[in-house]
Amino acid sequence: MTVASERLPIFGQAARRRAPLAAVLDRESVFSWLMMALPLLFLAALVGYPFFYGILLSLQDRPVARVGTFVGLKNFASDLRDPIFWQVAINTFIYTGVATLLKMVGGLCLALAMNQHFRMKNLVRALLLLPFIVPTVLSTVAWLWMLDPAFSVVNRLLVALGWPKPGPSWLGNPILAMVSIIVINTWRGLPFYGITLLAGLQTVPPELYEAATIDGAGGWQRFRFVTLPLLRPIILIVTLFSVIFTFADFQLVYVLTHGGPQNATNLFATYAFDIAMGAGQLGLGASIALAMLPALALLIVALTIYMRRN
């Protein structure tokens, strides 16, 4: 593919002065593919190959450190008969759905609160982002200690406010354990929503608010009919991102509950880890991890197309 600019006389002279090989290397397509060859090979070897190898593994009975035997769809069939698998699927959808909703609503409130004039705004913004930048495992350990069965500071505060002793068993009760992982995921992800939506709010032209006010719109109406429609693209993209990585979350649950009590907080990623690394069943584990693929593929394709369009 030759490009229009190459035909300009001045570029032609420059190219002719070089040796033939250099001229070939200077073609846009040759230069591009040579430049991209190394990173593309790297990604093919360490993302592409493992991806297809994972599909192959899921079709094998493959105990760790032994040769696998091809078993067709047997692993997937046994997943579908496994009650824990279904509980894991339900857990993952509840976790993703509720945490995403909380982050979206909370993030919007955070952005609206920050979109006002006050002193030390940049410092406040920097501090609010801390939960998002600190390594997840380390902040989750702090939460583990805050929800400790014997010395939970949360419970000590609740009891001081009149809650009957000893206070809720946050990580021991199946429902409260799910509540806990959702709250902590929200705590970590909220700043990402808040700061991104804040950037969106700051691009809304003030004239639009003025025009709406002149037309008689109140505070809620300005938010509903001016702010929200303009924020919609940002909300959509942030939410898709967040859903993908909440759906495949591992660290938080692994540290806080290990999927317990009685699999009440087990997600696809933690269950696949248990089966593959704990029980040494690589094939079965791969089939559980791949069970995430249909939902993830849908989200990834949607987001990729959306990102390309912008």
């Binding site: 290397l25 990173p39 501090l127 702090a142 950037a199 995430m292 990729t304």
Partner: protein, 281 residues
Amino acid sequence: MVTGHGRLETIVRVWLPVAFFLVLALFPFYWMAITSLKPNAELYNKNVMPLIVHAPTLKHYVDLLTKSSFLLWTWNTMLVAVVATAISLVLGVMLAYPLARMRFAGAGLIAMTIAAIYLVPQPLLFIPLADVINRLGLGNTLTSVILTYPTMLVPFCAWLLLGYFKTVPKELEEAARIDGASRLQTMRRIFLPLCTPGFISAGIFAFTLSQNEFLYALIFLTKTTVRTVPVGVIAELIRGDVFYWGQLMAGALLGSIPVALIYSFFVEHYVAGLTSGAVKA
């Protein structure tokens, strides 16, 4: 949008919600800090007011640094994060520059593929990757994570840089081409020096993500001497049912400091990268 109201209204509209979010965001870090400073007698005594430190001590820090391999883990984490970030920036530029500047058949497809790879979460790949790393004989080496972290960082850097490169004007490169510079020379001598802010943004994110990574490190690194901070803290400071909370919190706090420090220097770059919509949540 505060319009000349009284001081009370400012407090209710501005500071009340802001304070609420600040307390929510920062309380776990406050709790981390004061726990790490409390002696055990105070830590495990339910009759003492827990929100302040009555008899501060550095014992947990001394124990952490002398009785565990925390310093070695910190060194490992830094080494891995720096090398993985450097590799990812170089490979990311090699993808982003042609995609941002050249016209060639297949460019759209490559860009789509990179965006899709960037969105593939680790739990989808860790089982086959574990087998690959074992077969390569790389288990329990830092090479295993230095090689695998860029699988998420390269697409990420490429995507962020691609967005940044497109905002850089083309005139200087066109002038260099007219003067007879090759494409490689134009890219290295003219274009890349203009892109420092983009590299800082991508670099900080890659560094933060490397420090945050847990799953691959947990699977590939099972010996004390090669562990990174998150895995070391989880695997070795939590021993069975016995928790060393003082040490754990000291470790969590010290482990958070490198990221927090770098972030505090480059917070504007970080927010710029974040709001370009190119970040994993």
